[in-house]
């Protein structure tokens, strides 16, 4: 019997607004506990929420990127439950009338494209954090995170493997970061994911009983947890057992999911419209305004790079992995007029150097203009490829432009025929035995003469010219 998994994901993304969703407190991560709080986000008696318009704008951006229908009016609802990190005893969220619905996003997996439906996108506030002290029997509450804006993106159950789920997540992550509405930091919890998963016999149309997976704080963990859960459910069904509908937590160390069971399960959230907030009415003119401010999304950019710059899809994929990198590439490509060469330099040398130091493109010491110049110098034959590698290292180290380094080191390529002839004559004179052998048919020795010539010229010789002259001179006299 063959089973197929059905997976739907719920992603919570923290929005990069400066202030919280319903008060003016800072959203900055890592501050002294409870220093970014006020009566409103602390849930003091008598306070009222006031919606931060930036949150609506950012959510509309994501909704547009996900091809969602944006509802003309949406409202906030209260999700009621008791927990010490929830100071009001309810979370302000959206329920019956979310901001956006009925969208989709395309993912790519092994060269195949697949469309994943987006059920809804809604706004809500984050909860605080509990801190436990092992040595004393009490817990502390840090409310800095309380009221930080979140969007929840709910997918349709359209994914059929852990790989697809991971590809979907990466895609969402990429878009959120691209739109500059979320920093995407999974370790700090800016991007979190819960998964709903069930399996059914292939060919079956009804869904099986699903479980909800939580506590997966990296792409890899989402994938591992789903793979584990698919196996677990397959084992259960295959051995005549049943899947229980429940929430399960991923245990990274054990590499397994385990049941949360009990009290957290039994919630009746008693949703109802929040009477402290008025409906959010979004007019089309404003949506158009937001739409026109939308930057090009990664997938469109990838396609464009492939077409416009005639570079392989693989290159386009790497170069569009972040907006800053894509911008960097475009500038180098345009200034140098050699997109593929630019791509090679960026994907090879630049990224290798940056990765070694765990830096990102924004802090790259080589400016796009400098890299373009370097490429132009190679193309014009002013320097050789080998020289360029050395110059590149210096550029990276010093932040100087290539011309300055070439000047400082006297590194201009020798393209003067007479000068090169002299050098070659020197090489041939110093290696009479090898010359004899070459002329006797051992043509493999050609490379040796090239090497020797480069050595004599300290790498400054124009290799094409060296080849040409060597051939003539070895054949000639």
């Amino acid at each position: 019997m063959e089973y197929e998994p059905i997976i739907g994901l719920e992603v919570h993304a923290q929005l990069l607004t400066k202030s919280k969703i319903f008060c003016g407190c800072s959203t900055q991560f890592g501050a002294e506990p409870n220093s970014h709080t006020c009566p409103v986000c602390m849930g003091m008696p008598g306070v009222l929420p006031v919606l931060n318009k930036k949150v609506v704008e950012y959510t509309v951006k994501m909704a547009l990127a996900m091809h969602c229908r944006i509802n003309e009016a949406c409202n906030f609802a209260r999700k009621n439950y008791f927990y010490p990190d929830l100071p009001k005893g309810y979370q302000i969220s959206q329920y019956a009338h979310p901001l956006a619905e009925h969208g989709y996003v395309d993912i790519e997996l092994n060269g195949r494209r697949k469309r994943i439906g987006i059920t809804r996108i809604h706004m809500e506030e984050d909860a605080g954090k509990l801190l436990h002290d092992e040595h004393i029997p009490s817990s502390y509450v840090d409310l800095n995170r309380t009221g930080v804006p979140l969007i929840e993106i709910v997918s349709e159950p359209d994914m059929q493997s852990a790989d697809e789920a991971a590809a979907y997540l990466r895609r969402l992550h990429e878009i959120l970061v691209y739109l500059e509405i979320c920093d995407g930091n999974m370790e700090e919890g800016s991007f979190r994911c819960d998964a709903n998963i069930s399996i059914r016999l292939k060919g079956e149309t009804a869904f099986g009983t699903r479980t909800e997976l939580k506590n997966m704080n990296s792409f890899r963990n989402v994938q591992r947890a789903l793979e584990y859960e698919i196996k677990r459910q397959e084992y259960l069904l295959g051995s005549g057992g049943e899947v229980v509908q429940e929430t399960r937590l991923w245990d990274d160390a054990q590499g397994a999911t385990y049941s949360m069971r009990g009290k957290e399960e039994a919630h009746d959230y008693r949703y109802f419209p929040d009477p402290d907030l008025v409906p959010v009415v979004i007019d089309n003119a404003w949506i158009d305004e937001v739409r026109s401010s939308l930057s090009e999304l990664p997938m469109e950019k990838r396609e464009r790079f492939k077409q416009e710059y005639q570079i392989p899809l693989y290159d386009a994929g790497v170069l569009t992995s972040s907006r800053a990198l894509a911008d960097y590439f475009e500038e180098v490509a345009k200034l140098s007029g050699k997109p593929k060469v630019a791509s090679n330099w960026i994907m090879g040398d630049i990224l290798r150097f940056l990765n070694e130091e765990k830096r990102d493109i924004a802090s790259c010491p080589i400016l796009p203009q400098s890299l373009a110049e370097l490429i132009r110098l190679i193309e014009s034959g002013t320097i050789s490829g080998k020289m360029a590698k050395d110059i590149f290292e210096d550029m990276y180290r010093t932040g100087h432009g290539p011309k300055q380094i070439i000047e400082d080191k006297g590194l201009v390529q020798i393209t003067d025929e007479e000068e090169l002839k002299k050098a070659i004559e020197e090489v041939l004179a110093a290696n009479p035995v090898q010359v004899e052998q070459y002329r006797g048919g051992k043509e493999k020795l050609f490379g040796y003469f090239v090497g020797q010539t480069m050595k004599v010229t300290r790498g400054k010789a124009n290799p094409a010219l060296v080849n040409e002259l060597l051939k003539k001179m070895l054949a000639g006299s």
């Binding site: 009566p39 003091m44 008598g46 009222l48 006031v50 010490p84 009746d268 008693r270 009477p275």
Partner: protein
Amino acid sequence: MELNQLTIHELHALIKKREVSSTQIIESVFRQIDAVEKDVHAYVNLMKEYAFAEAARADKCIKEGNIKPLTGIPIALKDILCTKGILTTCGSRILHNYIPPYDATVVEKLREAGAVFTGKVNMDEFAMGSSTETSYFGITRNPWDLERIPGGSSGGSAAAVAADECIASLGSDTGGSIRQPAALCGIVGMKPTYGRVSRFGLIAFASSLDQIGPFTKDVEDCALMMNVIAGYDPLDSTSVPLDVPDYTEFLTRGVDGWTVGIPKEYFIEGIDPEVMEAMKRTITVFERIGVKCVEISLPHTEYCLAVYYIIAPAEASSNLARYDGVKYGFRAQEARDLLEMYKKTRSAGFGAEVKRRIMIGTYALSSGYYDAYYKKASQVRGLVKRDFEEAFTRCDVILTPTSPTPAFTIGEKMDDPLQMYLSDIFTISANLAGIPGISVPCGFTRGGLPIGAQFLAGHFEEGKLIQMASAYEKNANLEKRRPNLSLWSTNRS
């Protein structure tokens, strides 16, 4: 006449003429408090030292000629309004030690207008009640008859004004909590349109119904208080960005040619005969001053109480969830785990009526019941609102009794919640519809208890209410009486 017996406008005139100082006024108020507070118990927290310091400051302003509308006027605040650095209990054990870190918007506005706060006044716990008997801090007595309740939930606000223990006060009205105690204590009380006055800093009972409003000795004072507290507040998303007129301009406009609607559904069995007689006398006054009285219909009236007792408890069950013992207020000791801490805290921290409403509200919002209760109630609420919209195409204001009975005796309805709920039967509809209402004194029972008449108008028509109430006040020729507290005091000692 003692200074504490005067109105805001009378005192303001004297202050302007430099004939009295704020300190003299506050001394007079606290003399009265010292004399009668042990009987009335309007206050839960007297701010004597603060009041005298503020009065001294007001006097400095007066000297400098910086006289604002309420400069030097002693005003009491319902203990549901947050006051920075000053205990705010909401009549509940669960907030018995709560000191807010901020001021309610109305508190800031009153202070900005020069008011001198005398203290925080008593109320039903979390404003849930119609008699001020559910307060954790003891009952408040009606100054007209100390064996009777002052109404509620803003009973302390009403009693303090009626007993001349302050010049005016603020209360809050979710289903009648300003108008009913104003009627039972023989003073003026207004519930403004929902959204007219900022709720920021008003401890929430039912957010879609709550509104802050003034208690005053006459209609002119009501207009003066409204001038100060009304207006849009960016901190309250439900407050409405509309200009606020000068309400005192409505006082002298007259109502000749106006039409008053008398809703037939409000003149029902169960109304006290003396209240009915007072209503008839009120209608006579109107006819005398050229106001036409017509019968109108508000067909969904019979559902109001039911709708209210779904929506208000539902919202309350959520609004009161924050009182969990974690962050502030009362926390029960000796709990073994979190759940037990919650249970013990909330069991001991809330009184019976509050717990009853939390349970009703929790039930009404529960999965499987939401559609039948909360959703249906919200729909019927829409019909109630439409009833009024239609009615106001036929009349300028609507007249009803404020309360079906005069003040009842202490303990009379405490064991019968349904009877207690019925005391708000005429006031609840205005909260459901979001329209403004005012209660003005319209006479006394033969036993000497005050009776109130309620006027209702369309959204943001507070001016019309003031115009009508003022015309009525001028022409009703009601007997001027004050409660005789010294008599009671002697009898009771």
